[in-house]
């Protein structure tokens, strides 16, 4: 099943062009949806497929769609979240670069299901080179009657526009994204009201990740039940995993959910093992925000069961011994990696990206970074380690958006699983080969 759903035909030369994509079965899902299904039928298939949000939260897509305010007579919007900025994550970029029509197709079907007449693809500003690729695909779809007014004579009309951001991780949070799309600073909104009721311009809006929306085409083609049979339990379907760090074959892999983590790390079809024959030390399995795990805990759960690539298995043991599937940004560390240095580095990221709206996040990320910096650079105390844990606890759950949690979890988990390394940086600075001064 690997590589055959979302990334099907990616190896075909010229698949980025409409004509080639079309001859390989492209836009048949749009035809099926618009010609033989009602919008409610489409939503029902998506619900049956068990598809869950691929941006990181894993919220059931069909359920999210069902929240859309149906009594409102305002315009409805579909917004595609292409603000991929979570460290370790580069799957949406890959999908848009190589298979732009897979996304456009998903957008058309999803907008049809939701009754949205306008769709914006909000793409991070650094991916400017993708704007041309996406706009070319949109124009081709227009010219071939799959966008514009009265698509395929169905009476349904849709326009898709690409909207570039300008460098802000926080705009991946859906309400910050909407603020940004309205031309403002990317400060997340207080929820409720949720975007399904008051989203873009105060209108009912659905915001979904690129990978989520791209999966809608294949789901309509094969049927929701068939999609649900792929994968394992409530983790249905396939997932794009972007693997990076000290591995032999970094890259984007489409896996069937349920694949053992061990096979993913060591299998030749995937990461191909640790680079230079070194040992595996730790993994952050779902983008930089999710808890880091030791080699033992990433390969098997605390109960001794093999860890699988599913939402449930990666979370097994909660945060005491588990983590999250998150965005699928799989960061692998070998024996030489310094956990303290990496934690400091990631905390600097969150300090930089905090929008500054909530005090616990604005101040807390800065304090944590300052303390981690001094531990990493040989000026820390043992008390600092507990202080970090306390600050992390005071940020978590006390902010408007999840960036606070995302900043707290890496620190708390690194200390939970690698406390000795933090202590050694304090008591024996210089012992760690990777402790540096710059």
């Amino acid at each position: 099943m690997a590589g055959s759903v979302l990334l099907a035909n990616i190896e075909v030369p010229g698949i980025r062009d409409f004509a080639v994509y079309r001859t390989h079965g492209g836009y048949q899902a749009v035809e099926k949806a618009l010609r033989s299904m009602t919008p409610a039928d489409v939503s029902a298939e998506v619900t049956r497929s068990g598809l869950r949000g691929r941006g990181g939260a894993g919220f059931p897509t069909g359920l999210k769609w069902s929240f859309l305010d149906k009594r409102s007579d305002k315009a409805r919007y579909l917004v595609c979240n292409a603000d991929e900025s979570e460290p370790g994550t580069f799957k949406d970029r890959y999908l848009m670069q190589h298979l732009p029509h897979r996304l456009i197709e998903g957008l058309i079907i999803s907008a049809y299901a939701l009754g949205a007449g306008t769709c914006y693809i909000y793409i991070r500003g650094e991916f400017k080179y993708l704007v041309g690729i996406l706009e070319k695909a949109i124009n081709e779809a227009h010219r071939n009657g799959f966008l514009g007014s009265d698509i395929l004579g169905s009476g349904f009309s849709l326009n898709i526009f690409v909207h570039p951001g300008a460098g802000a991780y926080i705009c991946g949070e859906e309400t910050a994204l909407l603020e940004s799309l309205e031309g403002k600073r990317g400060n997340p909104r207080i929820k409720p009201p949720f975007p399904a009721f008051r989203g873009l311009y105060g209108c009912p809006t659905v915001v979904n990740n690129v990978e989520t929306l791209a999966a809608v085409g294949p789901i309509i083609s094969m049927g929701g039940d068939a999609y649900a049979r792929i994968g394992k339990g409530r983790s249905s379907g396939t997932k794009l995993i972007s693997a990076c760090g000290n591995i032999n074959k970094p890259g984007v892999y489409e896996i069937e959910m349920g694949l053992p983590v061990e096979e993913f790390i060591y299998g030749d079809r995937y990461c191909g093992g640790i680079r230079n024959g070194k040992y595996l030390k730790a993994v952050i399995p779902g983008g930089s925000s999710v808890p880091i795990l030791t080699a033992d805990l990433i390969l098997s759960t605390a109960k001794g069961e093999p860890r699988l690539m599913t939402y449930e298995s990666l979370a097994e043991g909660d945060f005491a011994t588990g983590s999250m599937l998150g965005s699928g940004g799989f960061i692998v560390f070998d024996e030489d990696a310094c956990i303290v240095r990496n934690t400091w580095n990631l905390t600097r990221f969150y300090r930089h990206e905090s929008c500054g709206q909530c005090s616990p996040c604005r101040e807390g990320t800065a304090w944590m970074e300052k303390i981690l910096y001094r531990i990493e650079h040989g000026g820390g105390t043992l008390k600092d380690i507990d202080l970090l844990v306390r600050i992390a606890r005071n940020i978590e759950g006390n902010t408007i958006c999840p960036l606070g949690d995302a900043a707290a979890w890496p620190v708390a988990s690194a200390i939970r699983h690698f406390r000795q390394e933090f202590e050694e940086h304090v008591t024996d600075p210089g012992k760690c080969r990777n402790q540096r001064t710059n």
Binding site: A75, E84, S85, E86, P87, G88, T89, F90, R93, Q97, R124, G125, E126, F127, K128, Y129, L130, G132, I133, K136, N159, F161, H163, P164, G165, A166, G167, A168, Y169, S180, L181, E182, G183, K184, R185, G186, Y201, S242, A243, C244, G245, N246, P250, G251, V252, S288, G329, I331, F333, A337, R341, N342, N345, L346, R348, F349, H352, C355, R436, N438
Partner: protein, 182 residues
């Protein structure tokens, strides 16, 4: 493009801006602010001055303060003069563990400037930025909008050399050089 109080878009750019505004519902032209600021920054030679932001405010029917507060939020809008080429090198974890720190250090050494600074010849501005979404192909840097991945010091040398050559020729098609994938 003239600078200062005189700043204005060409007729062709104005047409492009009108088309951008038309993508959003009537009365929601503020939505076009980020895309228009990108264009303004590009056309003005790489940074946004108060006068340029005032011009954009006027064009979109906004108060100047609305433009300032948005422009100052986003890391890709430069409020200080930049070099011809802005080098943004990733400093975040995934790049860092595959040699990113060395590349950052190397760039500081060969350009003889620190992050945020511009070389005296006005060619290069060095910025150390957060994750560029190239974690599987790190170390990575972006020059204007072009990505350079799997970097080694040798490649950095070659790229800088190539950029100096481009600058010497003052190639009018320079902008196209950025569109590597299109």
């Amino acid at each position: 493009m003239r600078e200062g109080k005189q700043f204005s878009f060409s007729a062709a750019t104005l047409l492009k801006v009108r088309q951008l505004i038309a993508r959003y519902p009537e009365g929601r032209q503020k939505s076009a602010l980020l895309p228009v600021l990108h264009i303004a920054q590009e056309e003005s030679g790489g940074s946004l001055t108060v006068d340029i932001m005032d011009y954009v405010a006027d064009l979109l029917g906004l108060q100047p303060i609305e433009v300032y507060e948005t422009a100052t939020f986003y890391s890709m809008f430069y409020l200080e003069k930049t070099g011809k080429y802005v080098i943004e090198v990733c400093r975040t974890g995934p790049c860092s563990i595959v040699g990113g720190d060395q590349i950052r250090q190397y760039l500081r050494e060969v350009l003889k400037i620190g992050p945020g600074e511009t070389t005296p010849d006005g060619l290069f501005t060095l910025r150390e930025v957060e994750c560029l979404g190239s974690c599987g192909t790190g170390p990575v840097m972006q020059v204007n909008t072009r990505f350079f991945e799997n970097l080694t010091p040798r490649q950095v040398d070659q790229i800088l050399e190539e950029l100096r050559e481009y600058a010497n020729k003052n190639n009018p098609d320079d902008i196209r050089w950025q569109d590597q994938f299109c």
